[in-house]
Symmetry: C2
Subunit: 373 residues, 2 copies
Amino acid sequence: MRTEICDRLGIDVPIFAFTHCRDVAAAVSNAGGLGVLGAVGFTAEQLEVELQWLDEHVQGVYGVDLVIPSKYEGKGVEGLSPEELEAQLAKLVPQGHRDFAEKILNDHGVPHLPPEEKHNQLLGWTATTVAPQIEVILNHPKAKLVANALGTPPDDVIKQIQDSGRLIGALCGSVKHALNHKNAGLDFVVMQGTEGGGHCGEIASVVLWPQVVDAIGDMPALAAGGIGNGRQVAAALAMGAAGAWTGSLWLTVEEANVPPAQMQTYIDASSSDTVRSRSWTGKPCRMLKNDWTEAWEAEDTPNPLGMPLQMMVALDGVKRGHRYPEQAKDVNFNPVGQVVGMMNKMERSADVVQRLIAEYLEACERLNKLNNA
Amino acid sequence: MRTEICDRLGIDVPIFAFTHCRDVAAAVSNAGGLGVLGAVGFTAEQLEVELQWLDEHVQGVYGVDLVIPSKYEGKGVEGLSPEELEAQLAKLVPQGHRDFAEKILNDHGVPHLPPEEKHNQLLGWTATTVAPQIEVILNHPKAKLVANALGTPPDDVIKQIQDSGRLIGALCGSVKHALNHKNAGLDFVVMQGTEGGGHCGEIASVVLWPQVVDAIGDMPALAAGGIGNGRQVAAALAMGAAGAWTGSLWLTVEEANVPPAQMQTYIDASSSDTVRSRSWTGKPCRMLKNDWTEAWEAEDTPNPLGMPLQMMVALDGVKRGHRYPEQAKDVNFNPVGQVVGMMNKMERSADVVQRLIAEYLEACERLNKLNNA
């Protein structure tokens, strides 16, 4: 299954693993794929620690996934520190929204964080917080690929990363987004179908993938949204994708730093249990349906705000859920794709990579048999 | 791409074409696939005429798609004629819903039907109207396959059709539905992803197909939802499907009896232009977004009723839209899947079948090259 982007990156198989856990990223890179660390939520200092760890534990290369706003400058935020920017934004959040979120968590008995675990709220989600992350990445030669989770990055960021010998790409949920990425000169796109976990569009993978491939010509297009099995990798490559970009799959591996109670929730869930909801981040994001998502859907409750304001409302819930996963079982933030229905046991990351390759070859063999019958 | 179900049916390629137009069904069957006529909306007498025409124009075999309610008996409708049943149901429709539908159509200047074109409302959508259709099918030996669009058919219908030497299957949108079909002894399932046109579930094809294939074992599973290109057929077969079930694709072929204005709407639409709406049939159904679907979505308007009551509200709109497609351009019933974004020109049905086969082979070749590189 080796495609051209494998040669450019020096990896064996075009299996890309998006994960917030460095152990998973390292395991996938060392198994022949490419681990991609999600950097959102890390300060520049924390990211430096993570990438140093990856440098030590990865034999080849790895990637980093950022949230780079397309309006990197402007909007009157020049010169504001992240803290000042956040203070400005905080004034735009209605108290009723904060109260509603607080009530959902309290009604479910989710404890408050201890005061010593207070946190910055918007790390990596605004222009002023992402620039220092990029500086960090540029100091780590094994960090060979940068992906942007939301929109086309600004020209200067693209140039800066490409000039350093790295590849930069971005996610897209439609042909239009893909063409924007191509016109901006990105090296690859990640085309994510609506079934994918986290932020996603409305168009499903089977329809999206071949259209993006046709639209962007010889620019590599990685298939995302729904992939948890090598047969799906074969399907993606048959439709012209240059590789498979996976995310949900790595929530139930041994190396994942997902609390056991939350991991069990993923293992138990079926493909019917997800919903595209704006209730955590303000943008449509696929996650497990639960009391939190239902509460924000109800008719007589506040409507979710936009991004990043809804995140300021919900981030306390994310942190409390992460800290107290048992108590937050029914109101936790569980971003995951419909492929959750295929994630039925805990596996080792390296075994997952091997399984994907074996299933891929089996699927190719199935086609060959049909054609030679 | 010949699979076992091809041998059972005596067809060359496992390309199934669901269509309401006999000319399309005949063209696909004669090109080596299987045309499947949607029988909903036909009286038994009309269906007899259609199938006689198909007998004359199809060299091999064809299929018929019905809407057989799973509760075929009972619910206090025994002995009621279709007209009596409809009169009973009509009493359950609030006048406010009828008025709202009427207002949408009138506001858009869609003329009323001439009095001589009055119509029965619920043909084929209730137990009492579908039984005579089955009798008709059993008299046509070339009608070799029966598919049920909604749910598992009752045991006596399954037995009746299988005893006659025909295959009977049903659509499903989840593993659970597929297992119900298997346990009822059906011959095949059509697993339809959420991207598909018409009634559909929430699970996308890439995630649904491999799960259903694994769940039902050696029972043939046809892949539906999003297929408009042979690369997608290759993807489906790579994931273990026994064939491709297509529908939307046949709305923009030369032989389709779709009014030119409506066909142009399909040709112009992108994959972002569809919505899953209950506004026409009462069940979630994928169609083009327009002023009608938006009107029923708005906050201060009636909520769609269930099936079949919403159909009684909306059927006049279907008929007026079909009769006056120009005027109804923005309020017409345009059931179609997300693959509409790939339907960009009118083609001949036989050419579509040939194209699907050629693209399929190209996709298989792409995989072979990757694996032998």
